[in-house]
């Protein structure tokens, strides 16, 4: 696009009072050759905006650089469709954070230059269009999967449902009774028949849903919008075109044979909660002992049978307390039987507390906190459950004729990739080890985000949950799958850059097949062809530009973001010749570090004048060439401000800041060889709320660089 740049300098908010705007304008006109340079005392006001609009209309301006305030505000006012818009935050980065008038002026000049360059180097985004389908694949035909399928189908989407068993329904099929749905306090009956059969019928009769039973996903090839999913069912394989995927593969009970200390496998009369459902279901609700078929009169429920135990499952299965309260009712249907629930903590969060209250209010339901240590033979055909630290005594034995182990949930993904993705990075979802095998999200705020675009987990494969929670969860996952299919079809990214129409466009002729991009992409978006050349799958891409940072050949570009663009911005940063005045470039993540700096500015905190701040999409896009170039130009140091990484990473692109840090460790070796001190480049983790620390962090770094001394390349 032939660019016709207009620079609009706002003089309001003290910019005009503390900066020589005329000088700024002259620099733009004369050295940057900007044809249209205008100023106004309130550029964001009606008049200011009209001024710009007029220039767009009458002067042919199509690239607007606004030298005013932070891009985080006045976004509505400065929105000019069809134009490239760059915002140079003079108010925050020059006026509010700089004290010295000369430094302010210098900063303002730098920031204007940098953003003009950025505008010059950028292009309007064009969506990546490819042939797509919007069919949604749901893996798992339990309550979660069926709910997702029905919800998506009802919203008008084609759904393919794959169930590994011969019939739909999942665990719900095995249940004798379920907890009734209630909107408030519960009333009798507290156990009701499940309506799973109706749901199965609804799924099977829905014209938008194709069901594969006794089936599994052999392979998932391709990318969101254009997956080729191979489904095998009863010996036949079929490739189906899929747009996005809901992973609702469910769970299995924890292997009770590992719970020998609780008597499982030792006594026939120790059963799991799932087995109890079978006993009740097969005997019309009567609880018969497996050993002799007699009706159980004293049933002990051992909660957390494996859960919350570092030797077994480190998590809580969330559903077992309610399940045992429900199953206690199975037992007490027999008027002279008692159900004893032995718990660590009763966990019935939220409105489930109503259920606890109602279910325990039964003469024959007895409950105590305690740590069950063993289950042993009582010698009279019954069992002794030994407990410590119980509310009945420090060490007690409880006599029971049947023991039910409330075993927990193990996600299907714990040891099976399920999806069988044909991705270079592997067949399953990454990061599962962070969540004990669950296909969960690391983001509190964004529960469906996995590191595989287009794949959304729901139900117990994502987190332990009960049936009604699973249904809600499945609805959300279906929405995300729909959203993903729609976005890919429109050529737009999904979360977190859900507005972004740009995509990575590698210049493959120069690719050396070093595979760094393939390895580093947090989302596995890059595969390799037969020759080992990377092959970009934009449908999988989240636009973090980690590939751009990874590439030593600098061949990965986005329309509005590329190595040369940021590199050129840096090249236009002034480097004072004075040895006492270091110049430091700060690369800041636009999601967290930059807003933190912005907030420090809003509070009028002062930031060392040595720094020039550049926003990056993600620190993962940091290309080492920038560092080498900047330092060889005489820049004294570089500070990278990115999100916290590690187990509780905060990077919205999962790996960006961590990769930047990793790359820095590499560049520091190189710097050493150049006889440049490695400490000139540093990465610091900064969260968005740590704005009060910004001046100190920057100040300390500047001090360290000053101690190291001026860059020997200065002046070259």
């Amino acid at each position: 696009m032939e660019k016709n740049i207009g620079l609009y300098i706002c003089t309001g908010c003290s910019i005009g009072d503390s900066i020589d705007v005329e000088k700024l304008g002259n620099i733009a006109k004369n050295s940057l050759k900007i044809p249209v340079v205008k100023s106004h005392f309130a550029m964001c006001g009606k008049e200011g905006v009209e001024l710009i609009k007029n220039d767009i209309k009458n002067e042919g301006v199509n690239t607007v650089v606004i030298a005013a305030c932070s891009p985080r505000i006045k976004y509505e006012e400065f929105d000019f469709p069809g134009c490239i818009v760059e915002r140079s935050p003079l108010r925050e980065l020059a006026v509010w954070t700089q004290e010295d008038p000369e430094e302010r002026q210098l900063a303002a000049e730098d920031y204007v230059k940098m953003h003009v360059i950025k505008a010059q180097k950028g292009d309007l985004p064009e969506p990546y269009m490819m042939e797509t389908v919007k069919t949604i694949l749901v893996i798992g035909g339990g309550i979660s999967g069926m709910t997702s399928a029905l919800q998506a189908a009802n919203a008008g989407y084609q759904v393919v449902l794959v169930e590994k068993e011969a019939q739909l329904g999942g665990f719900a099929n095995k249940l004798y009774k379920v907890v009734p749905a209630a909107m408030g306090e519960y009333s009798e009956p507290l156990i009701v028949d499940s309506d799973i059969a109706d749901t199965v019928k609804a799924v099977e009769s829905n014209q938008n849903i194709t069901v594969y039973k006794s089936a599994k996903v052999e392979k998932t090839d391709g990318q969101p919008g254009a997956y080729d999913v191979t489904i095998s069912s009863n010996g036949n394989s079929e490739v189906v075109k899929i747009g996005s995927i809901v992973l609702a593969a469910g769970w299995r009970p924890y292997d009770a044979t590992k719970l020998e200390h609780l008597g499982y496998g030792v006594s026939k009369d120790v059963v799991t909660n799932i087995e109890l459902e079978g006993i009740a279901k097969n005997n019309g609700g009567r609880i018969l002992r497996p050993s002799d078929g007699k009706e159980a009169k004293k049933v002990a429920f051992i909660q957390c049978a494996g859960q919350r135990d570092p030797n077994h499952l480190p998590y809580c299965s969330a559903m077992c307390c309610t399940t045992s309260l429900k199953q206690a009712r199975y037992v007490t249907q027999n008027s002279d039987a008692t159900a004893m629930i032995l718990y660590k903590d009763i966990r019935t969060p939220g409105r489930l507390e109503y259920y606890y209250k109602a279910a325990q209010n039964d003469p024959a339901v007895m409950m105590t906190k305690g740590d069950v240590t063993s289950v042993t033979d009582a010698g009279n055909g019954n069992l002794h459950v030994e407990m410590e630290n119980s509310l009945l005594g420090e060490k007690v034995k409880i006599e029971a004729d049947l023991v039910v182990l409330a075993t927990g949930v193990v996600p299907a993904t714990a040891d099976d990739p399920i999806l069988n993705l044909q991705y270079k990075q592997g067949p399953g979802l990454p990061d599962l080890e962070l969540f004990d095998g669950f296909a969960d999200s690391n983001f509190i705020c964004f529960q469906y985000e996995t590191r595989r675009t287009g794949v959304y987990a729901a139900g117990c494969v994502r987190q332990p949950m009960n049936m009604s929670e699973a249904q809600e969860d499945a609805t959300g996952a279906a929405l995300k799958a729909i959203q993903s299919a729609e976005h890919v079809a429109a050529g737009i990214a999904v979360h977190p850059r859900a507005w972004d129409m740009t995509y990575p466009d590698p210049f493959m002729q120069r690719c050396t097949s070093c595979k760094r991009c393939t390895e580093e992409c947090p989302f596995g978006a890059i595969d390799e062809d037969e020759k080992g050349t990377p092959f970009y799958k934009p449908g999988r891409c989240r636009r973090c530009a980690t590939c751009m940072g990874a590439c030593p050949e600098r061949i990965v570009s986005f329309k509005d973001y590329h190595v040369d663009m940021i590199g050129s911005m840096m090249k236009n940063v002034s480097v004072p010749s004075d040895d006492d005045k270091p110049r430091i470039i700060v690369l800041a993540c636009e999601n967290d570090a930059y807003p933190a700096i912005d907030t420090a500015a809003l509070k009028h905190m002062k930031i060392d004048s040595a720094v020039r701040i550049i926003q990056l999409r993600c620190l993962g896009s940091t290309n080492l060439v920038w560092i080498a170039d900047a330092l060889s130009r005489g820049v004294d140091g570089m500070l990278l401000l990115g999100c916290k990484f590690g187990e509780n990473y905060q990077c919205h692109f999962a790996k960006g800041s961590e990769l930047a840090d990793y790359r820095l460790s590499k560049v520091q070796e190189t710097l050493g060889r150049l006889q440049l001190e490695a400490e000139r480049v540093q990465m610091i983790q900064l969260a968005i709320d740590e704005y009060d620390n910004v001046p100190r962090i920057i100040g300390d770094f500047v001090e360290r660089v000053k101690e190291i001394g001026p860059n020997p390349f200065k002046g070259f």
């Binding site: 976004y75 929405l479 709320d689």
Partner: protein, 418 residues
Amino acid sequence: MPDVNRILVIGGGFSGLTTAVDAAETGAEVIVIEKNSYLGGRVAQLNKYFPKLCPPICGLEINFKRIKTNANITFHTMAEVESVSGGPGNYTVTVKLNPRYVNDNCTACDACAQACTAERPNEFNFGMNTTKAAYLPFNQAFPQKYVIDSSYCKGDCAKACKDACKYNAVDLDMKPGTITLNVGSIVVATGWNPYDADKLDILGFGKVKNVITNMMMERLASPTGPTAGKILRPSDGKPAQNIAFVQCAGSRDESHLPFCSYICCLASLKQTTYIREQNLESKATIFYIDIRTPGKYEKFYWKVKDDPNVSFIKGKVADIVQEQGSDDVIVTAEDMMTNKKVRMKFDMVVLATGMEPAGASKKIAGVKYNENGFALPDSGIYPAGCTKNPMDVARSAQDSTGAVLKALSKANSSGQGR
């Protein structure tokens, strides 16, 4: 004929924002109604999220950015839904708009606040400090626009604010207004309020100086809080080193909130990390009935339990008094595991007060509620997040995404479709 793809989201807290963003990104037109002067709701007041101990504003920033870049979303702050009528596909909603006294010209330059002569109690910090009556709700508030509290800033003060603004952003003649909206479906995400601790007579709040609530603790620990993040006790500003957490303060109690508020155990566990981080010597004691850390949160519990300076006592606190002759607080509970009634002294006590659904104190005409004020789904009207059941932020996010699909399907089903 209403636009069938139009969804109204009542509430601009985390649930409402998630709903709005997800619906808009799926192509719907969304209108968000928020009663506060800023978006973000309760989470904006939180210092950190459990279990990651990450700042809530981080996720909000992403959502704000998505709102900024999505033309499908419009929002009204300082607005309240008065009534809802009609049915699925065609609802008529009346919304009251309260005056901000600052218009869209505001550049957040702070000139009005500097000129403002009046102070007001800062309700964002639960009244623990004051702000100017011309103020930005908090540092990272979105929209980044000032507000003038006309009940404190009047006459000369108001004039001073107006005169200080170079952009004609201060408009003291703003009047409350009413708008009528036509939407296809509605998501109710009005969230929750901290349960009124004054009602917990035996727990000393309001009578014993150094008894605060968990939400107040969030503000005390927050860098934008009244003490700039230092956990100081209210009576004398001394660093609170030995703190008791009283669980189920109002929750699981028929006389108060008969349900479990879900978040309080985790919130207290989280808050122990605030104290422990500030001072190596500090101690925390959690008095509980059941520790409820469902699912993966169990590991967070373990992490806190591993800290030798954090102790757990199974037994609900039912008596809190001020020590005679000092500002210390005496807490009484039965330590059930040792079977002894214990009276322990603390610098400060945090009541883990629960969440009362917004519907308990204010119901929207046309929306159905249960006996405790939780909103109920009704064809075309869907509650999301804590409006329907106490839950944490993660579940609110997930639940709100689910509500979008229901709302979309409903908005479509009775209209002409997309």
